[in-house]
């Protein structure tokens, strides 16, 4: 009898392990951070898309974000939102930071290279609904009081991005709600937060008290940045001297390839074609020390403004999107070219 009991206990224990781990696996793979936070008491109703508006859907939102237009409720293709850009010109729609608690451009570059995604001036739309504020930091210097409404209101932020950043028309309510619905589909996942066993235990405990829930919510919200900060940085005072840092040509090449060429290769979003040829490099290198629009210092730190007839402009890199070291790396790449070990 004892023998059967032991076998039974072993079998039961064996079954118990996968049973215990399965909710954790489900949490790791699928659960959205926003859903978890709502379950822990956070109110996100104001960010929920209003899908009762005719024509609004996440599918349409994805089309607008990626192509510039979606199908309206009448089944007609709406007018393209912008003739110059789409959202993905400047924003990724996947995770682009290895550590969501840090805004580290150098780590981000390595991560985007590993993942084969572009390195862009705009913050990824992945997790946009999880952030509290938009157009942070120095963006008021660029857009003035237009950021007042956009900073705390995701819908206003989408509209500001459409009209000012993309230099396009105003979005209709069904388009805004569609984009918002799509952004909800690309919200942060719990698996992105890299929780340890204790933290996982805290959020998955079915018998949480209100105090536990508050603690769990604080813990979860502390696992990612709730805003994407922006600091405008001027170019070096003496452009012939540079910023005094020693650059790494390999990193400069990666930055050029992942970021500059995203817009400039074959004039995808730009009037200027750049490629990996020596001619492109020489063209940029010759202007580095000048105050011309071709100067890397000028365009990376101040950007290029839209003009009548040439609305396609270049947004500047904030220090969160391009560190001083990366700037030095890029200049070094222009000076000496592609290191042989990575050219292949």
């Amino acid at each position: 009898m004892m023998k059967y009991l032991i076998v039974y206990a072993l079998l039961g224990f064996g079954l118990y392990i996968p049973y215990k781990s399965s909710p954790k696996a489900q949490t790791e793979n699928n659960q959205k951070v926003a859903d978890l936070e709502i379950s822990l008491g956070r109110n996100l109703d104001f960010k929920m898309p209003n899908l009762t508006i005719k024509g609004a859907s996440a599918k349409v939102g994805e089309e607008i974000v990626k192509t510039g237009f979606g199908e309206s409720s009448e089944g007609k293709k709406a007018k393209k939102q912008s003739k110059h850009f789409v959202c993905t010109s400047c924003h990724n729609v996947v995770k682009e930071d290895p550590n969501l608690m840090k805004n580290d451009p150098e780590q981000r570059l390595i991560y985007t290279v590993e993942k084969g995604i572009p390195y862009l001036q705009g913050t990824t739309l992945y997790g946009a609904v999880n952030r509290n504020t938009y157009y942070n930091g120095d963006y008021y210097k660029k857009y003035g009081n237009l950021v007042d409404k956009a900073r705390n209101d995701v819908r206003e932020a989408i509209q500001l991005c459409a009209v000012e950043c993309a230099q396009g028309r105003k979005l209709e309510p069904w388009e805004i709600e569609s984009i918002l619905a799509y952004l909800w589909t690309i919200g942060l996942k719990v698996s992105d937060l890299d929780l340890n066993t204790e933290e996982n235990k805290l959020i998955s405990d079915p018998n949480k008290t209100n105090m536990d829930k508050t603690l769990a919510l604080e813990m979860v919200r502390g696992k990612y940045l709730d805003k994407s900060d922006a600091t405008f940085t001027p170019p070096p005072t003496d452009r012939k001297v540079g910023n005094g840092l020693i650059g790494d040509a390999k990193n400069g090449y990666l930055f050029y390839k992942q970021s500059c060429l995203h817009c400039h290769y074959q004039k995808k979003y730009s009037y200027l074609h750049l490629d990996e040829s020596g001619m492109s490099r020489a063209y940029l290198r010759n202007a580095v020390g000048t105050y011309h629009n071709n100067s890397i210092y000028q365009v990376t730190r101040w950007g290029v403004a839209p003009k009548a007839g040439k609305r396609s402009y270049m947004p500047q890199y904030t220090s969160q999107k391009m560190s001083e070291q990366q700037l030095a790396d890029l200049i070094t790449y222009l000076d000496i070219g592609v290191p042989k070990d990575i050219k292949k």
Binding site: K83, Q266, K268, Y271, H273, M279, A282, Y283, N294, K310
Partner: protein, 291 residues
């Protein structure tokens, strides 16, 4: 079947083909030529979808020879031909345009309709090793009707104001710096002098050597097979520089013996001889807009 009927049918066919052409620019060789023209000739380049190209071109008087030199300030004080026009990229493979030319041949005040179709595009993976384009041009002379019977602008019929040009262009970019194109064309004028044929076959070549990112050296030449005009002086040819400003401008400065700017003009009517100083400065400015 008359030439004009063939021309109309042919134009329809290439336009129908163009509707189906979807060119994915990212996998294709980029800018075999920087502009849709290489001095006098059309290149294989078409405008990107939604781009509008405002073009202004100029051919001055003879730089040297009897008509040139100091009295005409090396030709700068006279204008052999002036072009203003607009072209538009319907899609990445079809460009249409309307252009007005002063005209340097016997028919002047010309209005041109143009359609260019990119049939093949050289790609980066070697599947297509060259680009192929077809351009069709119809020229309508709006000059006043002459009272003198026998001159070309007597215009006994309205049809006599019309000329046509159809050209097949093949081009290849070799590396980053060298491009070459060959072309064959037929130019048909509804009214010609009694010593000429209405239809003229021509062959052409053009090339670009990219010297820096912004500047290139360009050449073009045409050989028209015209009866009674077999000398080299009747070959319109040009050499020039091409600048791209990076802001959507392409600027060409050239020297050519062609007096006209349009194919229906300079192919049949070039009579200028390089060896007699009958060549001129010319320029073309192209400005792209996104509309």
């Amino acid at each position: 079947m008359k030439f004009k009927h063939l021309a109309i049918i042919y134009t329809f066919i290439v336009l129908i083909m163009a509707v189906g052409i979807k060119i994915n620019a990212q996998s294709k060789v980029f800018q075999t030529f920087k502009d849709t023209r290489v001095i006098n000739s059309h290149s294989t380049e078409t405008l990107k979808a939604g781009k509008m190209d405002i073009r202004i071109g100029h051919r001055f008087g003879d730089l040297a020879g009897e008509a040139g030199g100091w009295p005409s300030f090396y030709g700068l004080e006279s204008a052999q031909d002036i072009m203003t026009g607009v072209e538009y990229g319907v899609n990445n493979g079809l460009t249409v345009g309307v252009t007005r030319y002063k005209g340097s041949g016997p028919l002047k005040q010309n209005v041109n309709g143009m359609a260019k179709v990119k049939i093949l595009e050289q790609d980066l993976n070697g599947k297509n090793s060259f680009s192929l384009a077809m351009v069709g041009i119809t020229t309508f002379s709006t000059m006043a009707k002459s009272e003198t019977e026998g001159v070309l602008n007597y215009f006994a019929k309205t049809n006599h104001r019309l000329s046509y040009h159809l050209e097949m262009i093949m081009a290849r970019k070799f590396g980053n710096r060298f491009s070459l194109q060959l072309s064959s064309a037929i130019t048909h004028r509804n009214i010609v002098s009694s010593s000429e044929e209405n239809s003229t076959i021509s062959l052409g070549a053009a090339s670009r050597i990219q010297m820096t990112k912004a500047m290139g050296l360009i050449f073009d030449i045409k050989k028209p097979f015209l009866p009674n005009k077999n000398g080299f002086q009747h070959w319109p040819a040009g050499v020039g520089f091409e600048w791209e400003t990076g802001g959507g401008h392409v600027f060409q400065l050239n020297v050519t013996n062609a007096t006209g700017l349009n194919e229906t003009d300079y192919i049949p009517y070039t009579n200028s001889d390089w060896t007699k100083g009958q060549f001129r400065l010319g320029f073309t400015i192209s400005r792209l807009f996104t509309i």
